[in-house]
Structure formats: structure tokens, C-alpha cells
């Protein structure tokens, strides 16, 4: 039963991805990518990764769709027909994909408990975290305690991303109005192309 759900959901996912590729209306493509995220959340649940599924459903299907739509509202939602032939990229993709499929032939089969990946640090997390950390959710134990450094780095990365977005888009509106009078730097940024393309 597990296998049937897995196969069906993954096939739907592949179909959705192909539909996104073919869709020339970007609005529809963004909505389909929301569906794509929700489907992958379903697959993560079927693969026992409940925390990941939760995150993917909240982030991929929620916030990132909103951000994409916000961008489309500014840049427009029509994609032009590609000018050049797709033969070269198709060739590159087929060769790369072929090499990757060849690589998978040596991989241990899906779901086998004897796979090497299950015999490194994971058994320790599963066996010891119960009385070392004392909370039932192993993912939370590993995330916040065993790999605390890692998570701190990730938190810093998303903070840095927010700083990047503020620098690029001038932050939220009131701050930009205030800064525009002082520096003039953000004022130039918000003007359309004339000044920038010459300078």
C-alpha cells in the first residue's frame, strides 16, 4: 500500500513539473508550483518525514507562492517564446540525466534497513536521544541540540537573506521614504530605466 501511494504521488509530481515547464503563462506556472510543493509535502509524509512535510507545506505552498505572485505583479506574467532552438539544452539535460541514472544503478535499494546511510550516526540519535535529551521528537533533538551549530548557521543565513532583500528593495515603504531624502541612493534605485542604463 505504501508503495502504491509512493508511486502514484511521485508520478503526479513529475507530471506537475512537466506542466510547469510547458506553461507559458507565469501566473499559472506559479500556482502549479504551489501544487507541486503541496504534493511533495504529501510524499514527505508518506516517507515518514513529518517535520519536513510540515515545513514544505507552510513554506513552499504558502510563503514562496505569495512571494512569486508579488514578483509577477511587478514584472508581468507573460513569458516570451524562446528565440533559440531547444536542441542544445535538451542534449545537455539528456546526457546529464543519463549519467545520473547510470549512477543510481549502484545505489542500495530504497528502504532497505541495511543501507549504509542507516549505520553511521543515525542509530545513536535514535537510541540515545530519549534519555540524553529527554524529548520524544528525535528531529527536534538533533536539530536544536546535537546539531545546534548547524541550525545557528542556518538561522544566520536566513537573517543574511533578509538583509540582502532589504538592501535590494529598500525595505518596507516608510523606511524608504525616510531614507530617500537623506541619501538619494534608494531614490535612484526606484526610478525606471533611463538614469541607470546610461550610468
Amino acid at each position: 500500500m505504501d508503495a502504491v501511494i509512493d508511486i502514484a504521488l511521485l508520478a503526479l509530481l513529475a507530471v506537475t513539473a512537466l506542466a510547469i515547464l510547458r506553461m507559458r503563462n507565469l501566473f499559472a506556472a506559479v500556482m502549479l508550483s504551489g501544487i507541486y510543493s503541496l504534493l511533495s509535502a504529501g510524499i514527505f509524509t508518506a516517507l515518514d518525514a513529518v517535520d519536513v512535510a510540515f515545513t514544505e507545506a507552510a513554506v513552499g505552498a504558502g510563503i514562496s507562492t505569495v512571494l512569486m505572485l508579488g514578483t509577477l505583479a511587478i514584472v508581468g506574467h507573460k513569458e516570451k517564446k524562446p528565440a533559440h532552438t531547444p536542441l542544445l539544452p535538451l542534449f545537455v539535460v539528456l546526457v546529464t540525466g543519463g549519467a545520473l541514472v547510470y549512477g543510481t544503478l549502484d545505489m542500495p535499494p530504497f528502504g532497505d534497513p541495511t543501507n549504509p546511510v542507516h549505520h553511521h550516526v543515525a542509530p545513536r540519535y535514535v537510541e540515545e536521544s530519549g534519555h540524553e535529551i529527554g524529548i520524544p521528537n528525535i528531529v527536534t533533538s538533533v536539530l536544536a541540540s546535537y546539531r545546534g551549530y548547524d541550525t545557528m548557521g542556518e538561522t544566520t543565513v536566513i537573517f543574511a537573506a533578509a538583509v540582502g532583500v532589504i538592501l535590494l528593495l529598500g525595505g518596507a515603504r516608510p523606511a524608504r521614504v525616510a531614507a530617500g531624502e537623506v541619501s538619494g541612493g534608494s531614490e535612484e534605485g526606484s526610478e525606471p530605466l533611463e538614469e541607470q542604463s546610461h550610468g
Binding site: 513529518v50 517535520d51 512535510a53 510540515f54 515545513t55 507552510a58 513554506v59 504558502g62 510563503i63 505569495v66 512571494l67 508579488g70 514578483t71 505583479a73 511587478i74 534519555h131 540524553e132 535529551i133 529527554g134 524529548i135 520524544p136 521528537n137 528531529v139 527536534t140 533533538s141 536539530l143 536544536a144 541540540s145 545546534g148 551549530y149 541550525t151 545557528m152 538561522t155 544566520t156 536566513i158 537573517f159 537573506a161 533578509a162 532583500v165 532589504i166 528593495l169 529598500g170 525595505g171 518596507a172 515603504r173 516608510p174 523606511a175 524608504r176 526606484s190
Partner: protein, 141 residues
């Protein structure tokens, strides 16, 4: 936007529950799926919904941009602060065992505060990014 009564009332009805659910996800993350990352995104989603239905100016009155900027930095400070406290207590950076008399309780406190830091940063970053995009869109369009 003024005549969409169902949207406005529906959103007003949903937002408190979204916020409450985010807090549940945050504090139940030790026992079930959930944690700071998910809770932060859900918390931010409540304000995104508010901004979508009631407009950006109202959302910025409810949650001023300055506050979310501070939030996104504050979370990292909380996280690193927990590490500094453990250093001062004589253990390694982010070794929560020393935060209480019993190492297991120490781990509990450490994870609680660290997840709180993650929640604050993720919430701040998501709302900051949304404000930046939405503010840009309205100015040009």
C-alpha cells in the same frame, strides 16, 4: 476591497486561530512534528493574510516594519546568547546540559530558548521579505 465582507470577516475570524496554532506548533515541537521553523512561518502567514485582506498600511500599523527588522536580528542574538550563557557557565558553546542542575532539564531549557530564537528570526525574516515585495509592488503599480 471595501465590499468584500466575507473575506474581511473570514480573515478576522481565522487570524487568531492561525497565531494560536503557530504557538501550539512551537511549544509542541518537542512531542510531535513542529518547531521554530514551522511556527515562525505560520506566525508570519497570519500577518501576510492580514496584509492581503486589509491592505499593507493597516498591516504595517499592526506589525510595524521596524519591529520585524528587530525581530529578525533578535532571534539570532537569542540563539547565540544561549551559547554564550553556556560558555559562561563553564561548558562548551551550545552545550545545554549546564543550564539546570539536571542535564536533562538543561537540555529542555536550551532547546526551548533556541527554538524561540529560531521562531523570532524566521517570523521576522518572512514578514520583512513580504513587506519589501508588497511595498515595491504598490509604489510602481
Amino acid at each position: 476591497m471595501d465590499d468584500r465582507v466575507i473575506l474581511r470577516v473570514g480573515a478576522k475570524f481565522l487570524i487568531p486561530f492561525i497565531l494560536l496554532f503557530a504557538l501550539y506548533v512551537q511549544f509542541h515541537g518537542d512531542y510531535g512534528p513542529g518547531g521554530g521553523f514551522q511556527a515562525g512561518v505560520i506566525f508570519a502567514a497570519a500577518f501576510v493574510l492580514y496584509a492581503l485582506v486589509y491592505g499593507l498600511p493597516n498591516a504595517e500599523r499592526a506589525m510595524p516594519p521596524r519591529v520585524v527588522y528587530i525581530c529578525s536580528a533578535l532571534g539570532v542574538v537569542i540563539y547565540a546568547g544561549v551559547g554564550v550563557v553556556t560558555l559562561l557557565k563553564g561548558a562548551n558553546f551550545l552545550d545545554y546540559g549546564v543550564l539546570a542542575h539536571d542535564p536533562e532539564h538543561g537540555q529542555h531549557y536550551g532547546i526551548l530558548f533556541v527554538e524561540l530564537g529560531v521562531l523570532t528570526t524566521v517570523f521576522g525574516v518572512m514578514v520583512t521579505v513580504f513587506y519589501a515585495f508588497a511595498g515595491r509592488g504598490r509604489k510602481d503599480g
